[in-house]
Amino acid sequence: MPPVSQSIRVKVLFFGRLKEIAARSQDSIDLAAESNIESLFAYYASRHPELQQYRSSLVASCNREFAPWNTVLHAGDEVAFLPPVSGG
């Protein structure tokens, strides 16, 4: 396995109540290469513990497509955490 050689920068968006809990609508963050969406969420949950309770009722997107939690991130990706949708 090659050593982790560099960090990647991704853009992160929060919507609905997540935006209120994280007290921000977007962020830009440097992650270790090979980080995935799950570990990115864990980072924010460690800073805003209330987020953790919503983990099971969220979905994530990567580059504007719904994405599973184990999606590995790459530099420049745009990740969003999305509560249950209620448009209409």
Partner: protein, 157 residues
């Protein structure tokens, strides 16, 4: 499998004009239009609603609405389609979502219109906050289906 370039798919921050949209989808080769007009109810679970606020992950929401439109043309023999969702603050009675579908025959127009609103409500990243006299809540919603972990793993870069 009609082209979709004549469809209207929009997110707007101002009132929706239903007359213009219904007129847009109407063409002399059609025979039927089915319209869904969703608007702000004055109550929610027995509480009196004051107003609503809708927010969206706009570029993704618009892409998802366009996906729905393209899918409708594949699935149903319809002609034109307008799907418009309003964002921001909406007062009681104001239209939040308007969907109009024209077709040569009514079955396709009904099926497509219903499929459009059902799919929109389940998959488009838009959120509604309800304001009451004593506070506000994010409306209950639906969790969109997400591709399974295995199939969506990206190839190593």
């Amino acid at each position: 499998m009609a082209a979709t370039f004549t469809d209207i798919t929009k997110l707007v921050h101002e009132p929706i004009d239903p007359v213009a949209l219904a007129a847009y989808v109407r063409a002399n080769g059609d025979g039927a239009i089915v319209i869904f007009d969703g608007f702000v109810r004055d109550h929610s679970k027995s509480r009196r609603t004051l107003y609503l606020e809708y927010e969206a992950y706009e570029p993704m929401a618009l892409a998802k609405i366009e996906e729905i439109a393209a899918h409708l043309h594949e699935k149903f023999p319809i002609h034109r389609l307008a799907v418009v969702h309003r964002l921001g603050r909406l007062e009681i009675g104001e239209t939040s979502v308007y969907i109009a579908v024209s077709a040569a025959h009514r079955a396709a127009a009904f099926d497509a219109c219903r499929y459009a609103i059902d799919t929109l409500k389940r998959t488009v990243p838009i959120w509604k906050k309800e304001y009451f006299e004593d506070g506000s809540v994010w409306a209950d919603g639906e969790l969109p289906p997400v591709p399974s972990a295995t199939s969506a793993l990206k190839p190593a870069s």
